[in-house]
Symmetry: D2
Subunit: 338 residues, 4 copies
């Protein structure tokens, strides 16, 4: 009954096997190996983006901050949701990598920015030399509230941003879960919707540590490479990172795992809805549920060994991963129900 985070789960055998296979003989370092080249092509094909630049890192924070630095000068601002991971959970990484840009926080229900809110925010931003200039829009899908933007929503938001000349970033720490939730293609949810750069997250969905910056404007590729190196994020033995991600994408494993995690969260949401005194704080659209429960329910669950984040006032966050089982979910629900 471990619902604390999807990054506390182990990795599936296919990933570990791939790591073992990668551990054969010498391979040129810093990404000049065959496995990395192959993976980059694999991702380009998957995104129907033959010109896209793909660069690997090992944390989502690095992927986000590097991606944003390509579109945000020091005197710029990044528009994002008030509760975006880049604002609340990265200890100022975007400010560090951009050399001091500002995050412009936008409120919105259930972790999502609405077109109206974005339009309003942009209307009051920049123009005069006295303030920072809006430079990038950063969306997160799956959102921090566990909700999902549709392709149409991303397209509309990106279009508003682009009309002001902003770059559009998608924090896809749980991109596979967002695809699974919407049945969208990788291309439809990214460059066809106006996304310029994607943080493609693997770690929260079954990898040891592997994220890709997928950059749809290859003219910034060299800058990205230099920024990655300068930030200490150019892994020397890249083959081990590439191997993880290749195995994850192979045969759609990433989507299978995400689909499963989403299904477990749906099962959880269904069960929570039937618990007396329980309410869902946000629609459960991917692999995360936020629920308010009576103190007694929490006490029973904790006593039964459930692990999850308490957020105060009875609110909790419950995250399902690729290895959460229906039994885990049912056991948690049973404990909550008492």
């Amino acid at each position: 009954m471990f619902f604390a985070s999807d990054n506390a789960a182990p990795c599936p055998p296919a990933i570990m096997d791939a790591l073992m296979r990668a551990n054969a003989g010498f391979a040129m370092s810093y990404g000049a190996d065959a496995a990395t080249t192959a993976l980059r092509d694999q991702i380009r094909t998957l995104f129907d983006a033959p010109e896209a630049e793909v660069q690997l890192v090992t944390t989502g924070t690095a992927a986000n901050a590097l991606a944003l630095a390509l579109y945000t000068p020091p005197y710029g601002s990044i528009l994002c949701h008030r509760h975006a991971h880049i604002e609340e959970d990265e200890c100022g990484a975007p400010e560090f990598f951009t050399a001091g840009a500002k995050l412009h926080l936008i409120d919105g229900a259930h972790g999502k920015i609405t077109p109206d809110a974005l339009t309003t925010a942009l209307a009051g931003a920049g123009g005069a030399v006295h303030s920072v200039q809006p430079s990038a829009l950063s969306l997160t899908n799956v959102t921090e509230a566990g909700t999902v933007y549709t392709v149409a929503e991303i397209t509309e938001l990106a279009s508003i941003a682009k009309a002001r000349g902003l770059g559009v970033h998608l924090d896809g720490a749980r991109f596979a879960n967002a695809l699974a939730a919407t049945n969208a293609s990788p291309a439809d949810m990214t460059w066809r919707a106006g996304v310029d750069v994607l943080s493609l997250g693997g770690t929260k969905n079954g990898l040891l540590a592997a994220e890709a910056v997928v950059l749809f404007d290859p003219s910034k590729a060299w800058e990205l490479a230099l920024r990655r190196k300068r930030a200490g994020h150019l892994t020397s033995k890249m083959r081990y990172v590439s191997a993880q991600m290749a195995a994850w994408l192979d045969g759609g494993l990433w989507l299978d795992m995400a689909t499963h995690a989403n299904a477990m969260a749906a099962r959880l949401a269904t069960g929570l809805a039937m618990i007396e005194g329980a309410t869902l704080a946000h629609p459960v659209q991917a692999n995360i549920a936020f629920a308010r429960l009576p103190a007694s329910a929490h006490a029973r669950a904790k006593a039964a060994g459930a692990v999850y984040y308490d957020m105060g006032d009875g609110l909790c966050r419950l995250v399902c991963s690729w290895c959460t089982t229906a039994d885990d979910v049912d056991a948690l629900l049973a404990a909550f129900n008492g």
Copy 2:
């Protein structure tokens, strides 16, 4: 016959086995797992430094830049050898992490700084508000030239630095090789010699990607943690990093591998010395040889499939790793000899 770099070698079975064992069940993320706690204690014991702070990252550049940022304000300077890795091979990472400090380059034969050179450099540095202030000394052991500082040499240099109030950093990307070369203990080569913070490198000596910042002044531990997170270097599934390093240190595997790599380089050096027209550019004291060879020797080696870095004018760098064999060395020498 792969002598290009030790970071092109695969990982030994013990490390891969440890990774597999680490892949069991859930584990709290961001270093709050049992394996990471145990590793931190293991390193403290190994260094006879019960109060030391240990934080893991996955690249040497990150370890170096984070360590230096603890001792160098933006208006400071880092004294280092002209050919230090932090100057030549990190794309300005120290400048990035320190928010714009300067590297103060010191010349010296065979990759080493002499006490006189350090004294002279410090004599002309800082004091007035018009220039940056000397803040840290960064030494590298094994040096970029493949030579090794003795404990006595480090002690003398650190003492000069400390007399001016500088922090002392040791870039130990090949720390195990330096220990193996000198028979020094980890404590003797670091805090007992005046080193404040060590970049303890595992990746070049058999790990997939694991480096530790070992900080002998624990009062800076919280700052280090925040800087690591902010730089995107707080790995979420830390257990996989910790598992690598624990297995590497267990039973002295790290030193065994380093001793082997050093022995292979010694064998290589001995052979090179007997090749007509060949000269060693630097004393071979650890696992790296720099040699000047006739063009014909290079041509034969390349034709025989040898891989190594050509540095121009007949000079090449030959690096031995934990998995370089005597046969590899002999084959290379045979090819050079023609």
Copy 3:
């Protein structure tokens, strides 16, 4: 009828005379001149702070950003009012000078932070490594809304901040107006109230370009000096900056001018209150009035040559300076009245 800003006013004769007198013979540069030494002592005496460090700059943005950088590491945050000058009008200078810290915005009526709002903001800030750590509180007096904190209010806010270990900065771009409004002494409104560092603004109150960073903790003096130089804010011919400020402080000229400007704003406020359809958006407590007026009133004033900032929806900002006359005020009121 110029009410656009106090920094559009000319300088009084006493200041220009002082400049002329300063222009005699050679004087050591970079602040090593007698006039600068004398001014520093003058300010220490005025603030009853014999140990305080005083360093001059020529813009308020520089004073603020330098002061804040002394108390805010890159991984820190500065708590300030949502409409603080440092947030809205400095193009990210605090982020630049701190190397990427975050501004943590606090809402509050009439430009002021309440103790409750500060307490709430701090309760949710920092602690874990995933977010920036609260580092400084920045108050502004006179506020951007033209209101004034009393000494008691500053004391209470500073006390809350200090209980969490924060540094306390006072943006005193209109410090003289705040003193004049409250009859407080410089010491009472600063270090005795818990302020660690003050931006003492002269430019908005009659100087050409002169601001002082008054630092009540002299242990940071050297850091301030280096940061000032590094930012290009160490004026070489300092005597001309010092001469301005000395003449301004001499005989209480600064307070006389501020008192006059405040009185003019009070006269304006009184008149505005009698205009049908006019409302004051904030209490007028110093030299600035914010008023909502009918479109017809604005049209008449503009036609009569009045210059001031339109903020949309009938709201305008009217700033009085040392050289605003009662006739100016009355003429503006007459125009508004029609």
Copy 4:
């Protein structure tokens, strides 16, 4: 007998008069005043560069660092002479404003970079992701050694830099002296020679505090404006800065003063050459002489009240300004001669 620095001199009456005239009535702040507009046009005309952007600051360090930041990304390097002001006397300002770029130091006799040295430096710079990329060349004219680049020399150096895609910056803290020394036109010494951006210094040649960034590529004008504001270098009462510079340029006053200062240094050099035991360390080509003199000569000069910088080993720097007189020079020479 004040030869310490040209920035220790007072300002000529024409400048002070201009300041007084500028002090009339209200003027829009932040450069939106008529005097600033007129000055910008005046400079464009003077440089025969109708499209050039002109932005004022008050220190040379600010002008240099802002100019360089336009051409140097954080992962870039600035090639400059080892003894350039930006390296030795700005406390890391270029690193601050560029967010951590590196200065790539080039040796050269008499403060000058030779084409060969530049070519060699560039040959070994950049290319791979492991190192910073050469981004800008910064020349200084008059150099720190008091020598002068001819237009032909600048043209050749700029051409080498541009062939590698670098931006070219000219630190013209003593630009007027360089023009006076070479009889070149402002346009010939800057954009026609390949200079992209000039720091046009006024402070060392008779102004209180006024420098202009003259940017020959206006596409970077908005970025410059934002960076200037963000650095706290947008002076609010700009009219006083503009007035100084306008009066300085009017009727060629700036060149007259520079010509005089150069002539005084030439007189000094002639005299020094006749002193037994004295040698000039560098050719005296503008307003600065570096001389080695016997200890006895120094002792006599100091006893006679001469003020200048001692650089150790008998070497001294002697700077002439617009107000140095022939009598001053002769008195100093007499004292040296004993």
